[in-house]
Amino acid sequence: MCIMSSKTQPVITYAGDTQLFSTLESATVQGLPQETVEWKRSYGRPPRAVTLSASFQPFKIDNDGFKELSKGLKKLSGAEVLHTYWVECQDIDTYKANVRESIQTWFTQIKQVECSDWLIILVENSDSKKSKQILPRTTVLDKIKNDFGGKTTERCIAVVDPVKGETKSSESWQTFLFRLRQALMAAFSRTLTKFEETVRTQRERRNELNWNFCNYFLLQEELAFAFEMLGLYDEALVQYDELDALFTQFVLNSAVGDAPDWLLAFQATPNNWSGVCLNPKAPFNTELRQKIQNHTMSVIDFRNYLFARQSALLLISSKPAEVARRCLSYVQSYMYELKLLNVSTVDGAIPTWILLTCLQVLSTCQSHVGATGNQSMESFALLWNMAKDKLYELGRKCGLLPGASVGSAELHCVVTLSSGITDYGDDSAVRPTPVDKLKEALSSSQAFTKHYLELSELAMGTFKHCGRLRSARLIGRDLSRFYLQLGQPQKSVSFLLDLLRGYQEEDWPLLRIDTHIELAEVFQKIGDRVRFIEASANIAAYPALNADTRMKYFSHLLQSAQDEFRSINCSSMMDLVDIRIHFDTSLEEPCSVLCDSIVRAEVEVVNHFPGPVKCSEVTITVKAVKNANDESKQSKAAGKKSVADKSLDSKAIEKPGVLAAKAKTSSSDYIPIKEQLHLKQDGSLSSVALVCPSAQQLLGRKVSHGLLPTELSVIKEEYTHKLSVKDVNIVPGVNRLTLQMKADHAGTYVLSQFVACSQRLEFIQSVNCPKVSITVVEVMPSVTVIKTRDDLLAGTDQEVELVIRTGSTAFQNEKTLRLCSSRGLMINLPKTDSLFQRELDLVLPPMAAFETVSYPLKIRADLGFTASKEATFVEHKLSVHCPWLSKTPPLLDLPLNVYAPFTVQYKLHTAYTKKFVNIHVQGLTPSSRAFEFQNPNVLLPDATYKNPALSKLEWRNLNGSSQTLKISQDQPANYLWELCGAPAQYDLPLLKAEFSVDYRLVGTSDWKLFSFNFDIADYATLFTVRSRVEPVKGNDFLRAGSLCHMTLTVSDVLQQASSAALMYEVLADQALWAVCGRTAGVFSMEGSSKHSVTLDVMPLVCGFLPLPAVRLSRYIPAEQKPKETNRKADLAAATLPRLEPFGAGQVYNWSKAQQVHVLAAPSNNGPTSFDTSTS
């Protein structure tokens, strides 16, 4: 370094008082580089702050130098850039006497030299100054400036001798140094510019015959030295890079036949291949530089020198990563250069050189890299990788690979190579140095293995560290080969499987197969038959491979298939291209088949194997998803909902479609779709749309995290059913197979895996995409009742039909259905001559699926309910005991609505004391189904006559003798009897009578008896009421608006009036009549059989007016206990007076429905009349 720096430093000459200067020299040399100085540069380059140092030499006229300089600057190092003249002169007189003259001499001398920058330094003594007169007219400095300065007076400097060490003197010393730096910088810059000019000129002459690159190299390197000296390492590096590029260009040009003579020297056979020396302590290899100067170096030496210099500069500017990066391209371009230059080398020399270079660079950089970690890792990894590769190459050349035999040629190779490796004698280097390592590696096969594995490990680790997994895996491939050679195939398995996984994940088929081939070899060596089969299968099925290899592995596969049980994922071998299932389209559910039917699937399989595969069975396994019950319930619910939706009067009606119904059952397999009806305001259809309510979620961007996962191994899954076909030969190419399955249970099934069994191998493939599902639908047997005619009528035999449908399951054996009817309903099977009964058994013969049988069934419902007015029909039911139903008891209820054909009403009519019983029969059936009635009869039970009071009761028939009446909806019938012989007395017992009649449906032959029970009460008339309305006296007529009398006469019919008090109420229509005074009154019949009451009433309108109605009630005074009747009153009620109404037959109103004629108001005296008329 010291040698170099003194060379490159610019030189300052000194003259004049040399003794004086020697005292100041050391201070100047040290002071100069202490501060930076700004360097303003030519050619628009940015100014830089640099530190300058210089060495001093006495000035002398050098004639040689003079000649050289005249040609141009040849050398930068040691060039004199600045001339100084040192003088100590106290007064002007001395100056004038001799100093001036000697300066003049020096001045003329430097004018002759090319470089004519100068400085005159006047050293002053501070105390000497004091002794002078206070204000000298002119100082010595002024004089000097005047004499020599010319326009550049700043070249003359005065400095106080710093040796004296005063404040003033140090200040003046600093000023001096600043001036000196400025001057030196300017001078150096000028020199440098000149030198650059020289270099440029030299470069322009590069195509001349006598031009030599080595000379030029040394010339431009001086520039680099100068920049390095200035601390401008990047500028220095640029110089080397320019040289590098220039040389490369020459080499490239030489390839096209343009090789200059000097280049031939570079083609010398190298005898040293120790790689680049990057000793940080000796960044300057003098030995190599000497070789360059002598023109005796090989290209390897030159490159080593150049790269070492570049690296040194990069390392100084702390860019170790850049060194590593450059190293790669350096090594590569270097190898290329060797090829172009036709340099003959010892076999293995170049790999050795590369290996050592890589290791050297790596060790140097890693010691430098420290904290700046990761970014350089990538280059490091590549370097490790390269070193690893080269070591392998060397190993192969030297017979060090495992299993290789070492012959004399290999030994010779080792010896030759070792001779070319020398350490650089750098004792401080970390042991073992790369050279040591290489020597050790070449010494024995074991050592080689150890080093190779170590390098591989480092390369792999570094790649992994910087995230280059693929590169790391690729090293695994080399390692696996190495282990295979080493006879440790089991170690290579994990590397290969790792590779395989990577290639499978990213789907690189060719690489995958290549890895499979290697794996097959390894597995064969290990004896892992099972995995060997799998690898063989993969290889055999890869179409891009050559036929021989495929057939070879295919035969391996077939052989192994006989004795090894193995499941292989066959997605790449037997490709399941298409599955078509024959669904039963007649069914409502999509993708469904009937229970117990055979499901057929047509499958298209592409066999990629080179030969046919005999399969004992090809199956597609099927898994059950849900059982049928859940689904049917849910879909029913969905169906109901749709109906409800439809009835809504909204603008948009949604109705879940088929798919929607499915969506609820099997969540993700279906896209829910709804049918949407858009209605106009008037309710007419505007548009129809299909809407997917969850479109947002379904159409949402999925995170694209990759392809479908391809699993390495598959496991045969559990399954419930399988579509299968036996004994198939699957030929290469497309195969169409028909697989079958019996659908024996209802439910939804999903295809899960494709399995082809060949001998003991199973080729398995998941059937995932798209998911195919089969719905097996079970139709249950059904029993229904069909009415033969419109409505079922009670009271007459009705025929219905019992329909039995077998559904999807056949009835293998006879089955017995037990039919039970509800109360009041009798059933009968006409075929079997049984009677009408409530229970009967029906034996069904064996039946095929979907067969329908029907049995006529007669039913007979009681007519008993017809008495009630409300019910026109009765819900009967027929319970069928079906053995196939799963619920307990297995009863199926079939509703049967039986309608009443007619209704019967009883009514008691009174005519004074006579009583008439009226039976009203109202038909309910249409006239087409009219009923005929005959032989009506009314009977009292015999027990009635035992009562002596009633013994004389008898019926007088008022009906036509034997007339047959036809009744229907339009035609009611009335029967009338007079009840004679009823005793006239109070408290007659209730009569329980029975009406009976023969009836039949028109068109039928059998008469049936219909009987109707009814109670007769109050069949004795107790009181009669007669009311009359008469005009007041003097008036002949009733007139509207005038008062008249209303007379009520109540007579006791029985003449045995009790002490009972009666109450009358006049209930007049207030629009017609106005009652004046009391409208009600209480009276007693005691003692008389008649009682009359007169009221004043006033007709309000004219015309025929009905008489006001009169109601008679029994009055029970407050204290009196109620009469002993069946009505019970509580004690609280007994304390109040109350009314008890008479029964309908107890009071006869004579005047009921009578009308009186009322004339208009008397304003006009027209004739009036009074008239009562009975309606």
Binding site: Q332, Y336, G467, R468, R470, L474, E506, D507, S704, G706
Partner: protein, 125 residues
């Protein structure tokens, strides 16, 4: 002239790979696959630098004694890799860019074809 060109899909599976010398195909497959490492690295780097307009051309990905690989990545993460012979010094950066531009155009036209599903391996005669 390039010795091999390759299109790699966004999931890193090869879409198309064609080389001049068929016997080297396997080797180029390995190189292409390793290049994905470098491409990913470069993409991460360019993402970090955060420039708005992303440079599609990635430059030199990989070089060995025999070959050099250059990379290009489209906005849809389709990687195009060109492998050239290391000794081929005639191809400059600009020419490589031009090749990439042409390849990118060719790929764009392919994607415009309605019969091509993006992501499928490209077949060509």
């Amino acid at each position: 002239m390039a010795v091999c060109i390759g299109f790699i899909g966004k999931e890193n599976s090869p879409l198309f790979l064609r080389c001049i010398n068929q016997s080297q195909e396997l080797q180029f497959h390995y190189i292409m696959h390793t290049c994905i490492d470098f491409v990913e690295e470069k993409i991460i780097q360019s993402n970090k630098s955060g420039s708005d307009v992303r440079e599609l051309y990635l430059g030199l990905l990989y070089s060995s004694e025999e070959v050099k690989a250059y990379g290009f990545v489209t906005n849809t993460k389709i990687k195009i890799v060109i492998i050239i012979d290391s000794t081929n010094s005639l191809l400059r950066d600009n020419e490589i860019r031009a090749i990439f531009r042409k390849l990118h155009n060719a790929y764009t036209e392919l994607v415009c074809n309605p019969f091509y599903t993006p992501g499928d391996p490209i077949t060509s005669k």
